[in-house]
Amino acid sequence: MVETLPDRVGLGWRAPLAADILANLDRIEVVEVIADDYFDAPGRERQALRWLGRQVPLVLHGVSLGLASTAPVDPVRLDHMARLIGEVEPWLWSEHLAFVRGGGVEVGHLAAPPRTAATIEGTARNLATARTIVGSNPLVENISTIIEPPGSALDEVTWLEGILAATENGLLLDLHNLYANACNFDFDPREAIARLPLERVGYIHLAGGKWVQATRFPGRRLLDDHRHATPQPVFDLLAEVARRTARPLVVILERDGDYPPFAQLLDELDAARAALARGRADRDANQNVRTNVVATL
């Protein structure tokens, strides 16, 4: 579906932003809704979501399936997602490559599983179950982590490549997650982008975060808290992705709190459009140079 459309830039749907989003649909080309917020919602709210999806392309984004795990995904949770998707008929749906519970204990948030061959296999099995129950493949999102996942044998990109090679799912590339992990664990995010199979990437997340200081042990980490403006290096990474791929990209800005005036969020969307345009222009320039070189030869 994504391939046939131009680049689109949009925003995460949050209740405090709803009125402003609806008033600015001429500048918001897609909205992303947290699916889990609607699992317990009454019928009229789910109908309202369906109506929203008729006004603007709508993506349902899951946060609690825990697909990246050696433990089987809970079919009851998948059923909730399947029913919501059936009612709302979103454009796309997505989930995180995270585990969120283990042995009956809820972690509370998205945790990075050990990056191993076993979690690649487990994730592939869970994604196959998801496709069977829901009827379509989710896009799968790389997550940020402030702890190096214990027991890992693979680096993040190798692990992501392994999952993409074992499945047919597209990658939802969260550039702030990638940037935060690069800051926290000292790797080059541009090199990571160069290694990723970008033909499987059609959807991007942007966000901001803050540095948090440990008190008991030395050091600090960049936390992807979605409460700050997208930093410039993340826009630069967006330009880099746009430069490296011909695929149309859907870009979503995530903001979960400490909301600024809405005009600032619209400015961030414009900054994302500018980064996409910069990347596309570089790509075109490189192709022209290549064509000229070939013609000269």
């Binding site: 079919p75 059923d79 945790a111 050990p114 190096e148 214990p150 027991g151 948090v212 042990f217 980490r221």
Partner: protein, 101 residues
């Protein structure tokens, strides 16, 4: 390495403060007592402590927020969730039975 049991250990390490303190006092013993393999125990002995402290802090905040959100939900929402879960279980059983045939 990595199994549902190892993930269960990590989930408890991240979410259960008393268990985490016990682990920090004696990492390998705690992991061994949980039934993890020697390789898994060794991996946990070399855990990223700064990351563990910060991740546990973030997870605790999220768990508190979710607990508070659930506490504030009315009986209608709880009732809807209860029915929703029963329906989903029934549909799963039915799917499994049909697949077995």
């Amino acid at each position: 390495m990595s199994s549902p049991h190892f993930e269960a250990f990590l989930a408890r390490l991240y979410a259960d403060e008393a268990f985490r303190e016990q682990f920090l006092a004696a990492p390998e013993n705690t992991a061994r007592a949980f039934g993890l393999s020697p390789e898994e125990c060794a991996a946990l002995a070399a855990i990223d402590l700064t990351g563990l402290e910060l991740a546990a802090r973030v997870f605790a905040k999220k768990l508190d927020y979710k607990a508070e959100y659930k506490r504030r939900q009315g009986w209608r929402t709880r009732w809807r969730r209860w029915w929703r879960d029963r329906w989903a279980e029934w549909r799963h059983r039915r799917r499994t039975t049909l697949q077995a045939k």
